[in-house]
């Protein structure tokens, strides 16, 4: 924050001095605030998972059938991509904290690249599904199609949740570009890296959500071929 701040001292009755925490330059406060924000993300996706498992309970077999028809190769590739991008993001933060600004910027670019790759693969996946007649407001998901309710709900939630997750990725890319600008402007540095820290946290929560989205959509029906569930 741009306001200059000199920590104040409060003195108790015995004359002991206590440093006052101001709102300016409060690293821990910034971190705490961002964690609290992430809880709201957890609650949001938690509620969506609740909707998902609600209908899973009502239509167990439909969910397995629908899950079995998703493309596990593309989904798996995306999982690995996000995994690696979490590493590059973390390493970048580490570099920033040790003063290697150039290395940090390189790592952010790598993360942006991986995030874009994720979105591109997601795009291929969605368009393939579209050609199979499975997409929002399209063919098999229309109200009059004979696809069972359970499958329709599964795919509907699939597009909603992966779409919302993709939207988070998009925001993440935007945040990283903004972060690069702030680094170039000298506003984020080794001693003042709360912004970087929080964007790294954001990227981790995006990854974390995928850690649950992936198995619930792609994997629960994977055993369907052999008959188990």
């Amino acid at each position: 924050m741009s306001h200059e701040y000199i920590p104040e001292i409060a003195t108790d009755r015995d004359g002991n001095e206590h440093e006052v925490q101001g709102w300016q330059g409060d690293f821990y406060g910034g971190k705490l605030g961002f964690w609290l924000f992430m809880f709201t993300e957890v609650l949001m996706f938690g509620a969506m998972f609740m909707v998902l498992s609600y209908y899973n309970t009502l239509h167990p077999q439909d969910f397995l059938d629908a899950s079995a028809s998703l493309n596990r190769v593309l989904g798996g590739t995306n999982t690995v991509i996000l995994l690696v991008s979490a590493l590059t993001m973390g390493l970048g933060l580490l570099k920033m904290r040790t003063g290697d600004v150039k290395g940090a910027k390189l790592m952010i670019w790598a993360t942006i690249l991986l995030a874009t790759a994720f979105l591109v693969i997601k795009g291929f996946e969605w368009s393939a599904e579209y050609h199979h007649g499975i997409f929002l407001m399209h063919d098999q998901l229309l109200a009059e199609s004979p696809l069972p309710f359970g499958q329709k709900l599964f795919f509907g939630m699939y597009f909603t949740m992966t779409g919302l997750h993709g939207f988070h990725i998009l925001i993440g890319i935007g945040l990283m570009i903004w972060l690069l600008k702030r680094i170039n402007a000298g506003k984020v540095s080794q001693d003042h890296h709360i912004l970087y820290w929080n964007i790294a946290l954001y990227w981790d929560i995006v990854h974390l959500i995928w850690v649950f989205v992936f198995p619930y959509y792609y994997m629960i029906g994977a055993g369907g071929v052999t008959g188990g569930h």
Binding site: A10, D12, V20, G22, G29, G33, Y54, M157, T160, L164
Partner: protein, 551 residues
């Protein structure tokens, strides 16, 4: 005279010269709180006017001067404004913003710019909500609960309202987040959680609800939008969805939301009672912990809205028991307040009158709530005027009465002026009488079967509606008069001095009145309890220049 926060401010962007822009861009928590108050009470009066139109329509059976569809839109507008624009942001955004940082000896909230942003997010949400009033399709007619599947099929503009509720929810989340970090990080040295004023406890518990419950309704509204525009069928049984799930998700937020409204209001009560009884509060820890446990248990009782919706019987029984359980910490609070007054030197100033009035009205509201928490009774009383009267006794007679109490209590702090006590008391009595006359007949009408949200009724209910109407007239007269008294107080009132009530908490230990821009001249070291009185006099005294204790 020293400069107050009315004379100078910090801004989010640059240093504008014009006073207007300084207000628009201010990051000072006191100014932001005042702006919230101005906007919120404007909406409050719009919603009161809508309610009065409905009362007029209900004066006699049959259609008077609005038709059924307009009536549906009227109660939706009333509900949406009162809930989303007034009472949910209500006490935290106005009094929490203004008073909470002062109470913990902070210079501002933890993220002042975020606070500024939040205010404008709130304004955006309000504009979106009201925008649909001026579209062809018209305002939503679903009631503020947006129950599926009707909300997904109606021709009116529900989506505007849903989006607005989502934005307002975001604003609410960010306020809560800001306050949580502020309370964790910016308390003055020495102030442990057990030395915080109880209003701060109330705000703290509230902030957790804002943070962890609001996202659920946010995502519910997004799902409803996905359903309406992408045809997924999440809540519409025609497409395979379950409307009960919508009710679950909606009330997972909206029931904790009533505790979100009442907890900071209880905090106000806990400030006023010891101050005007000139006694240390009885059972400080039990009040603080009961706030926390109301917030905690409040998460788990939403199902009592679904008794007649087709929820599983086991779930009904569990929810019924959990709902009874909330009454316990609430009861603890009330006993503590009454015990504080026992043998106290009670001073019947206006804030105290409001607090005492609330003890009566909220007890009625709370206990009638326990009756409808019983499954069997609720099946009879669900969606009747009994329920309407219950939640208006709890919300208007609890939250809003205490909000008014807080306004009277902190008015001299915020403005540096004193209103006319005698006139303010007249306003209280008018409202108290009008309020009871307005809502009490509804308990009886509801018990005899008058359903809510109907714009017509059988002739046998006419007498109750007419009592209510006259109550409404008296209530609105008192309400208007109260704001006139406030206005006169602010423009022509006598300077109040920094501590007109002989209160003990930190917000009354300002170097000047109204407070300067950066609050206390120095941050004090807090080694005392919040409400220390000895023989009716505050124990702790400060030198306001150095903020050192001189008692």
């Amino acid at each position: 005279m020293s400069k107050s926060y009315f004379d100078e401010t910090h801004c989010a962007i640059g240093h504008p010269k014009s006073t207007f822009m300084q207000w628009m861009l201010t990051i000072d928590h006191k100014r932001i709180g005042l702006m919230y108050a101005a906007v919120m009470f404007t909406f409050f009066f719009v919603a009161v006017a809508t309610a009065f139109v409905m009362r007029l329509e209900l004066f006699a059976p049959g259609a008077q001067f609005i038709d059924g569809d307009t009536f549906n839109q009227a109660f939706t507008l009333h509900g949406v404004i009162m809930i989303f624009l007034f009472i949910i942001p209500g006490v935290p955004a106005v009094l929490g913003n203004i008073v909470m940082p002062l109470m913990i000896g902070a210079k501002d909230v933890s993220f002042p710019r975020l606070n500024w942003f939040t205010f404008w997010l709130y304004i955006l949400g309000a504009l979106v909500a009201l925008a649909s009033l001026f579209t062809d399709a018209g305002f939503a007619d679903t009631g503020w609960t947006f129950y599926a599947p009707y909300s997904l099929n109606t021709g009116t503009n529900v989506i505007f309202t849903l989006v607005a509720a989502f934005i307002l929810g975001m604003a609410s989340i960010l306020t809560g987040l800001n306050f949580l970090v502020t309370i964790h990080r910016l308390r003055a040295p020495g102030m442990t959680f057990w030395k915080m004023p109880l209003f701060v406890w109330g705000i703290y518990a509230t902030a957790w609800i804002q943070l962890l419950a609001t996202p659920v309704v946010g995502i519910t509204l997004i799902l409803a939008i996905m359903e309406k525009y992408f045809g997924i069928g999440i809540f519409d049984p025609a497409k395979g969805g379950d409307p009960v799930l919508f009710e679950h998700l909606f009330w997972i937020y909206s029931h904790p939301a009533v505790y979100l409204m009442i907890l900071p209001a209880f905090g106000i009560m806990s400030e006023i009672i010891p101050t005007f009884s000139r006694r240390t509060i009885f059972g400080y820890r039990s009040i603080a912990l009961s706030s926390a446990s109301i917030a905690g248990v409040g998460y788990l009782v939403w199902g009592h809205h679904l008794y007649t919706s087709g929820m599983a019987d086991t779930a009904k029984v569990i929810f019924s028991f959990l709902t009874f359980f909330v009454a316990i910490p609430t009861g603890v609070k009330f006993y503590d307040w009454v015990a504080t007054m026992y043998k106290g030197k009670i001073i019947l100033s206006t804030p105290m009158l409001w607090a005492l009035g609330t003890i009566i009205t909220f007890t009625i509201g709370g206990l009638t709530g326990v009756t409808i928490a019983m499954i069997g009774v609720d099946i009879h009383l669900q969606d009747t005027y009994y329920t309407v009267a219950h939640f208006h006794y709890a919300m208007l007679g609890g939250v809003v009465f205490l909000f008014f109490a807080g306004l009277h209590y902190w008015f001299p702090l915020v403005t540096g002026k004193m209103y006319n006590e005698k006139q303010a008391k007249i306003a209280f009595y008018l409202q108290f009488v009008g309020f009871n006359l307005l809502w009490f007949p509804m308990f009886i009408a509801g018990y005899y079967g008058m359903p809510r949200r109907y714009f017509d009724y059988l002739p046998e209910f006419q007498i109750y509606h007419q009592f209510s109407f006259f109550g409404a007239v008296i209530f609105i007269t008192g309400l208007t008069y109260m704001f006139v008294v406030f206005f006169k107080g602010w423009t022509k009132g006598k300077p109040s001095g920094t501590n007109p009530w002989n209160a003990t908490t930190l917000e009354w230990h300002m170097p000047s009145s109204p407070p300067p821009l950066e609050n206390h001249s120095k941050v004090p070291y807090v080694d005392f309890e919040p409400y220390e009185y000895h023989h009716g006099e505050p124990v702790v005294k400060f030198d306001y220049e150095t903020m050192k204790r001189i008692d």
